[in-house]
Symmetry: C2
């Protein structure tokens, strides 16, 4: 049943792809075999995380980025984890209509992770869907998330290249978010750059980079103080100084430059061997999650039915603290000796 | 060493409390014993989640709510998970200064979860810190999160009473977020209600409730169609229709009414036995997380050093898919028979 999907999916059949993604999202029994069969075909896509606060226009930017890649002959997968994204149905009808030109293109596949699952499940499912799109042969995969939530920031930063989108005049609350996402950025996009304050936003980013305790920031801190003015991008020591690109996504302005920087970063990751290290970190995190799930499933199967619920009820009645309850359980059922 | 902290903490010593919270946040060895000793003293606080998008003014609302509770003679713990909150240091200096009147009050304890850990760790640590504040005897505990991220919404909705904060004129992107947080609200606050569009926002919320497939929404959908106009709050069948409260937090307006609705919801939970069920759900989720951690720790201790990293490297090189790698590992090391 699963193998039915593998061949057409690898051959580029969109219906098979859509069904495979659904199987993986629903964690069906068949999805396990599917993942195993698809896995050897993964590892070719360049994965780009795009994150930013609501209102920065990152969905439009993702849209235009995708079109730019299409013009260059690359196929594009889009995963929208952002609940405010028009891809996820979270925005006005006008935006969704505007997205349709992408949806009609066979070189583009869009999937929104609209369903809210349990904590952590989001990242896990996103990783699996990513794997399926990778196996399906998309050259670039864009993951759009909200740069406010912890899980969403983690998902975006697990990409090969992370684009952090800012916009001028978003108010102090949103400005403050920067501190948290600053350290994950490989490329900054100051979108809506035709608005007042765009220079100020770009300069603020540059200054914040100067304050960050990273090798790149160290280079940057000497900016303007002499001939050692560093250019953004790959540095002599193998580090990377994130460029700051101004864009006006609704008019397509600056998006080609943004695209070039993403490609340069991809090249930098390959040239320095950092791509392999990012892949290993991604694999480790994926393994960790699958292991936890598997261990808990095995345990649950060995417990009497309803046992965990009874323990939870006891904890809720304050008969036993949850840590001691877990110790007891592991001892009682032979998981710990 | 741990027991050193327990007695002064239970006696109300603030320094012991701060140290205990740090131990729990850092997951020190001592924190386990500490949690076990404190646990029997928990279960008395009413836990209130306050969530909303950046810019809705929820930090100010939390501030004024805390002061309202203080005036009523209740002690208040505040946990700020929101990276944009002035409690977390994420806002302008002016805001932080404004918060200081709370910080100087011995009946208030504020803790910000500013450090970004790994995915899922945030909820776990928040639950543990919550337990410590509960044991320390705070009457009300307010947890402030950003109503955009998955993890943050999960944390807020694990509270006894969840307050969802909206504000008029936040733009379409933010309006769209509502759909995701609508179902978790026990009470809606339309903050900045002196601004244009507040009535519109309140009405939009009322309409969205009418569309939601919940028993409460079913009641609401008949609103205005005759004498069966339902009042918000506890319904005849034991369900709860979330009230919509207009507030102007910076001037303290409407906050007492909001406070009264929170208390009424608390009473409703007690009267209907739903409090026990919410406690059991919270305990089950806490157990689940602790179990996963414990099982993975046990496994890691039984593996040769560096084994997991080697498996991850193999997965990164596409030699084996992560699901098969996990199956293999569990078989090889006797975790599965």
């Amino acid at each position: 049943m699963t193998n039915e999907l593998v061949e057409p999916l690898l051959a580029g059949n969109r219906r098979a792809l859509a069904r495979a993604v659904s199987e993986v999202e629903d964690r069906t029994v068949a999805s396990r075999g599917l993942m195993a069969a698809l896995f050897p075909h993964t590892g070719r896509a360049h994965i780009i995380g795009v994150t930013g606060a609501p209102g920065t226009g990152k969905s439009t930017l993702v849209n235009v980025l995708a079109r730019t890649y299409r013009t260059a002959g690359k196929t594009v997968g889009i995963i929208a984890v952002d609940p405010t994204s028009p891809f996820s149905g979270g925005a006005l009808l006008g935006d969704r209509v505007r997205m349709r030109d992408l949806a009609g293109d066979p070189g583009v596949f869009i999937r929104s992770m609209a369903t809210r699952g349990s904590l952590g499940g989001l990242a896990h499912t996103t990783a699996d869907v990513l794997m399926v799109l990778d196996a399906a042969g998309f050259d670039r995969i864009l993951i759009e998330t909200v740069g406010v939530g912890q899980a969403e920031i983690d998902i975006a930063s697990a990409a090969h290249t992370t684009v952090v989108v800012e916009a001028p005049g978003m108010g102090d609350e949103v400005q403050a978010i920067k501190a948290g996402v600053l350290e994950i950025a490989d490329v900054f996009a100051v979108n809506k750059a035709d608005r007042e304050g765009a220079d100020h936003t770009a300069m603020a980013l540059q200054m914040m980079q100067g304050l960050a305790p990273s090798p790149a920031a160290h280079h940057r801190s000497s900016a303007g103080s002499g001939p050692a003015h560093p250019q953004p991008g790959a540095q002599a020591g193998g580090s990377w100084l994130p460029p700051i690109v101004k864009t006006v996504a609704v008019r397509g302005e600056g998006v080609e430059v943004l695209c070039q920087w993403i490609e340069r970063h991809a090249e930098h990751l390959r040239a320095t061997g950092q791509l392999g290290r990012r892949e290993e970190a991604r694999a480790a995190s994926e393994l960790d999650h699958i292991l936890r799930d598997a261990l808990l499933t095995d345990l649950t199967h060995r417990l009497p039915p309803g046992h965990l619920a009874r323990v939870a009820a006891g904890v809720a009645r304050r008969e036993l603290d949850p840590y001691s309850a877990v110790d007891q359980l592991l001892l009682d059922y032979g998981f710990r000796r």
